[in-house]
Amino acid sequence: MRRRVPVLPVFLLVMWLSLNGSLAPGQIALGVLFAGLVTLAVAALRPVSAWPRRFDVAVCLFFVVLVDVVRSNIAVGSVILGASRRQPHVGFMKIPLELRDPHGLAVLAMIITACPGSVWAGHDRESNVLTLHILDLQDEAAWIRTVKQRYERPLMEIFG
Amino acid sequence: MNHVLPWAVYFALMCVSVAMGCATIRLLRGPQAQDRVLALDTLYINGMLVVLTLGIGFGSGIYFDIALLIALFGFVGATAMAKFLLRGEVIEP
């Protein structure tokens, strides 16, 4: 099933309406006009457009990321508060990926960097290997499992 | 009626202000330029949170727009400086 949803105009319309805080017909008309014009203007800048396929998987991924953000906040907080006894063991690690879609990779970069304790440090386009920087690197296999199973597999389903 | 929320607002303001102090110390002391840019970014986010907390305390919606503007300018400034550190110029030909 390939249903194409125009994401950008809908997002802009929702943003316009919530920024104005009203659902009056005039605001809706203005928002539709604004969203259409901006979409046309931006189309020349970004020739590759994103078509997310599975919105149910995206909602699941959102909650998975929310849980992970809370968990890694607690982990990073305990590392910071215990830093006088033990400085964390920082390090880089490499993860080979299967995801190739540029939008999927962009969302993966955002998820990884938004979780405290890990920052996206680079990606090699030819070998498709991701470099991560981890605040407290102790168990590399656990990080590989987290990235590949919790984030990469849903993203491959969403962006196909 | 109830004084729970004002005290929570005072507490959060105190926490975020101390956090801004920490970021300022790192901004002034940071050994490398990237430390200073990171501290400036943190300072902007914390300033936005102070404005939002004040908005909660005064029960006014005006503070929301200021917070949005602070977040916007903080992002543009910090990204421009990080890009400068990375490449030596901001907008490449």
Binding site: T113, V119 | N2, L52, F58, G59
Partner: protein, 103 residues
């Protein structure tokens, strides 16, 4: 302060969220001082910009909805904006730091 007029059902969760968000932001910025290496320090402010900002924004949504007696959700825009932009800065800074240490 106008916050006294907020009804209790909104004031209690908002107060808890404010306290949690303030503490998270404080711990995150404290990490800027307590950690010794830039590569460790870059992880600390992420706490403030994800969960700290999220808690305070949720408290703001609760209070302004209770005061206006209708759902006011435009604070979600700030959350979306911060979530979209703070990783960009962190990634650029990380790459800049790697580049400057190598060169």
């Amino acid at each position: 302060m106008n916050a006294i007029n907020v009804p209790l059902w909104a004031a209690l969760p908002a107060a808890a969220l404010l306290v949690i968000g303030g503490l998270l932001t404080l711990v995150g910025s404290l990490g800027l001082l307590r950690l010794h290496d830039f590569h460790a320090r870059i992880h600390a402010p992420t706490m403030g910009s994800t969960l700290g900002a999220g808690c305070i924004l949720l408290a703001s949504i609760l209070v302004s909805s209770a005061l206006a007696q209708r759902p006011v959700v435009h604070e979600v825009l700030i959350a979306v904006f911060v979530v979209l932009t703070s990783p960009v800065t962190a990634m650029l800074l990380m790459r800049a730091s790697i580049y400057r240490r190598r060169g």
